[in-house]
Structures are given as structure tokens and as C-alpha cells.
């Protein structure tokens, strides 16, 4: 039997009181793509961050090619031939691709003598593995998908034999995902082994040779793909607590939910233009509408104007051109409070930045935006008795883990903060729901919970605008999908026309607009 390239044994890791990993084992054989599957909070990334030297394990051993090693830093990891590509890249954006790749490998400060030689080698590597990148291009001008290839090349240039990819398909179009999978195959043929962290079973089945499932920081099982059944993987990820037959994630929308009539137009957006923070146009003439009882999904690679679009609709960012009407009321900028009062619920994209008051109480957080209206306020005074009663109700209903409404909100964990955001949005009767990445960072049961809530609203006649970077989520929930590319709505598809690859082309800007209607 061959020696594993990497073996991790009995790994323990705790962050404060939270146990992230408990006696976890992991083995990577030479020349395999090993899927590390689990929901959010399962411990996948933590385990690999330990292998890459970003965290120190509390207990456990790491062996590389059968030799016991200690890894204190990414530098140690690289010296053992281990490289990692994170979800968020650390790149010097004004530098070129080649400069970014060379950063940290130059023998001394300021020596750029062998840049030309290196560029040739990068070009060769890129060509060899099908990682299409121009070494002289400046990183800030590249889309996310290409930046990821830069990150992979960075590792390959350093000669890694173990490449760890953390959720690499986030923000890639389906075409880019296919290309990435082909590149991974090419790397394996050259003797590189890959650890592929993901929460998507389909990706595991598509590209991996073996899969290890983690749940709640513990091993569930490891199987070769040939023996892996999709159903087992689902069970392994979620345990017994989820009713899979009625799950949106695994069973999809019920058929009777497709036969459903839509009501009046609730969100009407005509030729909308919105500025980004730097005064350039981020949304450049968008037109669409959302009807009562409809989920309208907006797909697109992050940074194509989604944030600005949503903020303009909520009155947070001024409308620079065109016309937005929500529930019959024109929105130009600054109407947020009255929109919330009229039943426009909002789940912001960045929960920590945009929706959370860390230094205030949980109760303070639960009434944010609704604090001027009854029952929370009477005139200019707050009704704390009512607020506390409501807060207790929401804490229980949404299973927010906290000691009570007067607990400091900074004590909440990420998943609990998202539950708080949901509780706040869903606590009031709504006619319109605007949700931006509502399930980002949530574990599977919580994601499922959000989907049920969204579909329940939709079935009760709420107009839902769902902006998401997760195309699978959009395909699952939406009645129509509009695709944003560079601030323009490049196409709107009905549910019958949903086609991942066509949407992918639109997201990448390579789809030719057909002269419809």
C-alpha cells in the first residue's frame, strides 16, 4: 500500500468554548482529488487552515510522506509542498499577474532581474494546466474567475504537490467551473494532489476521486467516489435532523408550487442608473419588474452592480436615473424608513457591516429600522415592555442562541447574527421582500429554514427580489431570473427556460442579446 502524501491524525481545535474540530482524521493519497464535504461550520476550512499553518491544532499530528512534521506558518507549509487558495484572495491589485505570483519568492528586495524569465514560466504553466491568464495583465482589471487562476498559479509556481482549494466555485460561472475541473485533472496527471473543500455534493460527484464528509467538527465517513451514493452524502452532511423529502435543498420545489398565479407588479424598475461609491455608474440602465407572489432572482458574479441596485431600491443609495416604484411609491433615495413601515422587508448583503449593531443589545438590533413605529414606539418614547416581549418571541421562534434581549449583540456567532437579521425582516407583515445573499455562511438546516420562509412568503403573495451569488439557490427558488453583467440586465429568463450554461454565458458577458419582444 502506498504511503499517504498527507495524513492528519486526531486533530483537535477549539476557539474559546466552541469546539471546531474533534479527533479528526484525514488522508490525502498521491494523485487524487479529495473532496472535503460539509455544511457551514462543519470544520472543513479550519482543518485545512491547520494543514496550511494558519492555525495551530490543540492536539493531533500531521505527517507528510510518512514523516511527522510541525507546521507553524504558510511558509512551513509551502516548504513541505502544501499550498492553499482561500475564498478571499490576498492580491496586490495594482501589480501585474506575474508580479503577484513572484511576490515573496524574490531572493532579495528590489531584484526584478528574472521577471522576464519568470513570465515565460508562468505562461508555460498557465498553458499547460489550461489556466488561461495573461501574466502582464494588471490584477485589478481582472474578473474574479481569472483572479482565482492567478492564485492557483501562485501555488503551482512555488511547486506545490498538495493544492488546497476552499470553495473554489463560489463566484464562478458554470463554464468557469467546468474549466476549473479540467485544469484540476491536468494537475493530477502531473502528480499534484488536490483537496477540494465544498458544500456542494454535485461538485464532489463531478470531480473528486474520494470524499471525506465532516459534520460538527467530526469525521462522518470517507469513501471512494465509486461507492458514494448521493443520498448517503446528504445524510452524512446533515445528520438525522433534516426532513430530506421536504427539503428544498435536496428535493427541490414541490411541483404544485410551479402552478401558481402572480398578482400585480409590486416592484417596477425602469432604466435604473445608480452610482457606485466612486461616482462611476455601477447600475447602467436596468429594467425589470417583480409581481406579487413571484420570486425574481438576480444572478451575476459579485461586483456587477448588485449591491448598488438593491441599495437604490431600498432608498439607501440615491437613484441617479430612471424610475423605481415599490408598492406604488416612487423611490429616489432616503425613503428607507417609510419603505420598511410599508412592509418592504430587507435582508442586507453584508450582515456585519450593513445590519448589525455589535455594541448594542439584541433587542436594540431586533427593532432597528422599525424603532419609530408602533408597537415599538409610541410617539417619541420607546415601548421597552413590548419590545422585550417581541424580542423573546423572536429569539425563540428563530432559535437565536443568546441569554436574552439585553445580551450584548457582539456575543452572538455569525450564524446567530444571520438569524437575527431574518427575525427582524420577517417579524412584520410584508408585501415585498428584498434579500441579498440571505443564506451566505449558514449551515444546512438554517439555509433550509430561510428557503422555507422565502417560499412561504412567496406563496402568500409577497413579491420577492432574491439577489444571490449562488446560482443553484436562484435556480431552486426563482420564478424568473435576471442576469446582471456590468450594471446591465443582459437577460431575463422564465422558469421553463432556466439553463445553467446560458445563464453562465450571460454572467460572463459572452451571451449575445437576442432581439426578443
Amino acid at each position: 500500500m502506498t504511503t499517504p502524501l498527507v495524513r492528519m491524525q486526531g486533530i483537535h481545535k477549539a476557539f474559546g468554548d466552541v469546539i471546531a474540530l474533534q479527533d479528526v482524521h484525514f488522508e490525502l493519497m498521491p494523485g487524487e482529488i479529495h473532496g472535503l464535504l460539509g455544511g457551514n461550520g462543519a470544520g472543513k476550512t479550519t482543518l485545512m487552515n491547520i494543514l496550511y499553518g494558519l492555525y495551530a491544532a490543540d492536539a493531533g499530528d500531521i505527517f507528510v510522506r510518512g514523516q511527522k512534521v510541525t507546521i507553524h506558518s504558510p511558509r512551513d507549509a509551502l516548504s513541505h509542498g502544501i499550498g492553499m487558495v482561500h475564498q478571499h484572495f490576498l492580491q496586490v491589485t495594482p501589480f501585474t499577474v506575474a508580479e503577484n505570483i513572484l511576490l515573496g519568492t524574490l531572493p532579495k528586495l528590489g531584484s526584478t532581474g528574472h521577471l522576464g524569465e519568470a513570465t515565460a514560466r508562468i505562461r508555460e504553466l498557465a498553458h499547460h494546466f489550461g489556466l488561461d491568464v495573461e501574466p502582464d495583465a494588471r490584477v485589478e482589471e481582472l474578473p474574479v474567475g481569472v483572479r482565482q487562476r492567478v492564485e492557483i498559479l501562485k501555488a503551482l509556481y512555488r511547486g506545490v504537490k498538495v493544492l488546497i482549494l476552499d470553495e473554489p466555485t463560489t463566484n464562478l460561472t458554470p463554464q468557469e467551473v467546468d474549466a476549473l475541473f479540467q485544469s484540476l485533472r491536468a494537475m493530477v496527471d502531473e502528480g499534484v494532489s488536490v483537496v477540494f473543500i465544498t458544500h456542494k455534493i454535485r461538485e464532489v460527484m463531478a470531480v473528486c476521486d474520494r470524499v471525506t464528509v465532516l459534520r460538527d467538527g467530526q469525521n462522518v465517513f470517507t469513501v471512494p467516489k465509486s461507492e458514494a451514493k448521493e443520498e448517503d452524502l446528504v445524510r452524512g452532511m446533515v445528520g438525522e435532523q433534516l426532513d430530506i423529502a421536504h427539503s428544498f435543498l435536496f428535493a427541490g420545489r414541490a411541483a404544485n408550487e410551479d402552478a401558481h398565479t402572480f398578482g400585480d407588479v409590486m416592484i417596477d424598475v425602469r432604466d435604473l442608473k445608480v452610482h457606485a461609491d466612486n461616482e462611476t455608474l455601477a447600475v447602467r440602465g436596468c429594467t425589470f419588474d417583480v409581481r406579487a407572489g413571484e420570486v425574481f432572482g438576480i444572478a451575476g458574479v459579485a461586483g456587477n452592480g448588485q449591491r448598488e441596485l438593491v441599495e437604490a431600491l431600498m432608498g439607501i443609495r440615491p437613484v441617479a436615473g430612471g424610475k423605481v416604484t415599490l408598492n406604488g411609491m416612487e423611490v429616489k433615495g432616503g425613503e428607507t424608513t417609510s419603505l420598511l413601515a410599508q412592509g418592504v422587508a430587507y435582508i442586507p448583503e453584508d450582515r456585519l457591516e450593513d445590519g448589525f449593531l455589535p455594541l448594542a443589545s439584541v433587542a436594540h438590533n431586533l427593532i432597528l429600522g422599525y424603532h419609530r413605529q408602533p408597537p415599538y414606539a409610541r410617539g417619541w418614547l420607546l415601548e421597552w415592555k413590548v419590545i422585550f416581549q417581541e424580542a423573546w418571541r423572536l429569539i425563540k421562534e428563530y432559535k437565536i442562541r443568546t441569554t436574552g434581549p439585553d445580551d450584548l449583540a457582539a456575543n452572538l456567532s455569525g450564524g446567530n447574527i444571520q438569524r437575527l437579521m431574518l427575525a427582524r425582516a420577517f417579524a412584520h407583515p410584508m408585501r415585498i421582500l428584498i434579500a441579498h445573499n440571505p443564506t451566505r455562511g449558514l449551515d444546512i438546516p438554517s439555509t433550509e429554514f430561510v428557503y422555507h420562509k422565502v417560499m412561504e412568503q412567496r406563496n402568500n403573495g409577497t413579491a420577492v427580489l432574491l439577489v444571490s451569488e449562488d446560482l443553484d439557490e436562484l435556480l431552486l427558488l426563482s420564478d424568473r431570473i435576471g442576469v446582471l453583467y456590468r450594471g446591465e440586465m443582459v437577460g431575463i429568463l422564465e422558469r421553463e427556460q432556466f439553463d445553467k450554461y446560458r445563464i453562465g454565458q450571460m454572467m460572463a458577458g459572452t451571451y449575445k442579446k437576442q432581439p426578443t419582444d
Binding site: T336, D354, L357, L359, H371, A377, L381, L382, F388
Partner: protein, 345 residues
């Protein structure tokens, strides 16, 4: 049922909040004791002087209460803007212009009866303080100039202003120091106790502290102010006009700072005296920091610091130990209280 759960969860939090203070005070005193001992003084007697001068004689106690008033108001002038995430370092200037306005009204309308003059004097100080803090507020709103800078700089302007008023406009030639003539008797705060004299400013400060607490915790704009301080971006996203609230918080801080000056003039000096601001700005900010910006805790901390301050002057008088020793103790307390947060994290 829910009420019971709330109060249950509050009890350990109380201990949690008070614990670090006790530790900080004990450690600071121990550290100061080492110095006092090294300087060759009797450490226990020094401790006794610092802590008990306030409670040994009626005079000591009244002195403490008189210091408590400007300390509390100055601390609130710092903590209210802080709740909105703004730093008001201009409490001193606001105190001075408040005092100037109070003296001006008290001198110009000296003939008015007390029922009119006293409210006018205090109102003038509040308005003057609001204007003095409103200038940085406007600069912040209009040009996004940091309020830290502008509030500090306006302190220096106020130093010149008090000189001008006391030397050029209403000078008292009999005084050897820049001083104005006294205000009308109707503008003087009534006394609670005649001998030693204690004016009603003590009650006023407590009532104002209560109002500030009520404002921040029970009113809608108070909530918005706290939300702005907790996360201005999120407050903005949820429809709160954070720029207006930043200005409002500074203006309220200015009102409190101005009132502290008005009370000093109407209650203590009955005239404007150059230098009457003492070191209340520093002590007020120390108070606010020890209270960790919590306005509800300010009166208690202010009382404690007033005790230390009165102890400090006694220390200097009776034991010849420099009173600055007490400032060091106070600063150490701030350090240890802030440090306890870091440690617990």
C-alpha cells in the same frame, strides 16, 4: 415569567461589570502606594487621607459634592457624543462660554427678580454651550472636518474670550486677577445648606444625569443616537440620518458642558473668574472613560473621583505629598479598567 428571566440574567452581569472596577481601584492604589512609600511617606496615612477626607468633616463632604457637579456634567458632555461615536474634547470651551453667557446675562439684567433671572442665566449657559459645540457640529456636517480637532481648538478660543470679557467689558478693578463684577443677586443659585454653603447645583446635576439616561434609553432619537454609535453604516442602511445625529449628539454635549459653566458662575463664584474651568475637562473625560461611556454609571464614578480630588488637596495640605499623585491613581484606574476589557477578550 419573562421578567423573572431578565432579572436573573442581570445579576451576574452586574457582578461582571463591577468586578473589574474593584480590581482596577485596588491595583491602582497599590501601585500608587509603592511610589508614596518609596518617597518616604506613611502609605496607610496617605490612603486614609485620600479616601476619608470627604467623610470626616461637613466641609470635606460639601467640597466633594461641589466638585461632583462639574465633574458629572463634564463627563456627560463627553459620554453623550461618545454614544453616537463622536469625541467631544471641547467640554472645557463649552464650560467657559457657558460661564461667560451666564455672567453676561447676570450682569446685564442684574436688576431682574430671581424667578426670571436665574432661569435666564442657566438658559444662556446652555444655549452658549450648544452654539460652541454646534460650530464643530456644523463643520463636521458640512465639510466632514473631524470634531476631535475642532472641539479642542475652540477650547483655546474660549481662553481668549474669557480674558477679553473679564478684562475689557465688565472688569472688577478691585480683583487682582481677571475677574468680572458680580452678577445680580437674582441670578445666584439658592443654597441647600447655609454653612458650609452648598447650592442646589448638586440636585440639578443629578436631575440632568437622570434626564440624559432617560433620553438615551427611552426615547426614539436616543435609540438612534446609540445605533449610530454602535454601527453608523447599519444605522444609515436602516433609515437613520447618522450625520444629523452626530451633530445632535455634539450639541447635546455642548448644552451639558455649557450648563456646567453656568452652574459654576451662578452657584459658586457669582462672577466670571479667569481659570474657573480648573481641570474639569481632563477629570470629566477620565470619568467618562472609567464609566466606559455609560452615562448611567457617570454620577457614581464622578462621586468617587470627587472624593479622590478632595483627598488629593488634603494630601498636599497635611502630608506635603504632591496632589498629582492622585491624578496618577486616576489615570491608572482608567488604564486598568480599559485593560480588563482586553484581558477578558
Amino acid at each position: 415569567m419573562s421578567v423573572a428571566t431578565i432579572s436573573q440574567s442581570r445579576l451576574p452581569r452586574w457582578l461582571n461589570a463591577v468586578g473589574p472596577y474593584v480590581v482596577a481601584v485596588v491595583v491602582s492604589f497599590a501601585a500608587a502606594g509603592v511610589f508614596i512609600g518609596l518617597m518616604g511617606f506613611n502609605v496607610l496615612r496617605a490612603y486614609e487621607t485620600i479616601l476619608f477626607t470627604s467623610f470626616r468633616t461637613p466641609n470635606g463632604f460639601i467640597q466633594t459634592l461641589l466638585k461632583f457637579v462639574p465633574l458629572t456634567l463634564q463627563a456627560l458632555a463627553f459620554t453623550v457624543p461618545l454614544a453616537a461615536g463622536k469625541f467631544n474634547i471641547g467640554g472645557e470651551g463649552q464650560l467657559i462660554v457657558g460661564g461667560i453667557a451666564a455672567a453676561a446675562v447676570g450682569i446685564v439684567f442684574a436688576g431682574l427678580p430671581g424667578i426670571l433671572l436665574l432661569p435666564l442665566v442657566l438658559l444662556a449657559s446652555v444655549v452658549a454651550g450648544a452654539i460652541w459645540a454646534g460650530i464643530p457640529g456644523w463643520l463636521l456636517y458640512r465639510f466632514r472636518i473631524s470634531e476631535i480637532l475642532t472641539t479642542v481648538l475652540l477650547n483655546f478660543v474660549s481662553f481668549q474670550l474669557v480674558n477679553y470679557v473679564a478684562v475689557e467689558i465688565w472688569p472688577d478693578p478691585a480683583a487682582g486677577h481677571p475677574t468680572t463684577v458680580p452678577i445680580g443677586m437674582g441670578g445666584v443659585l439658592p443654597l441647600l445648606i447655609r454653612r458650609p454653603p452648598l447650592h442646589v447645583g448638586f440636585f440639578l446635576a443629578i436631575v440632568v444625569a437622570g434626564l440624559v439616561y432617560f433620553y438615551l434609553t427611552r426615547t426614539v432619537t436616543g435609540y438612534e443616537l446609540v445605533a449610530t454609535g454602535a454601527n453608523p453604516r447599519a444605522a444609515h442602511v436602516y433609515g437613520i440620518d447618522v450625520r444629523k445625529l452626530s451633530v445632535l449628539s455634539l450639541v447635546i454635549g455642548g448644552m451639558l458642558g455649557g450648563l456646567s459653566g453656568g452652574i459654576e458662575v451662578a452657584g459658586l463664584h457669582h462672577r466670571l473668574i479667569e481659570g474657573f474651568q480648573s481641570n474639569y475637562l481632563t477629570l470629566g473625560i477620565l470619568t467618562g472613560l472609567i464609566a466606559k461611556g455609560n452615562s448611567a454609571a457617570v454620577p457614581f464614578v464622578a462621586f468617587f473621583l470627587a472624593v479622590l480630588e478632595v483627598g488629593a488637596s488634603a494630601l498636599q495640605r497635611t502630608m506635603m505629598i504632591p496632589g498629582e499623585m492622585v491624578i496618577i491613581v486616576e489615570a491608572l484606574i482608567v488604564l486598568f479598567v480599559l485593560l480588563s476589557d482586553v484581558v477578558r477578550r
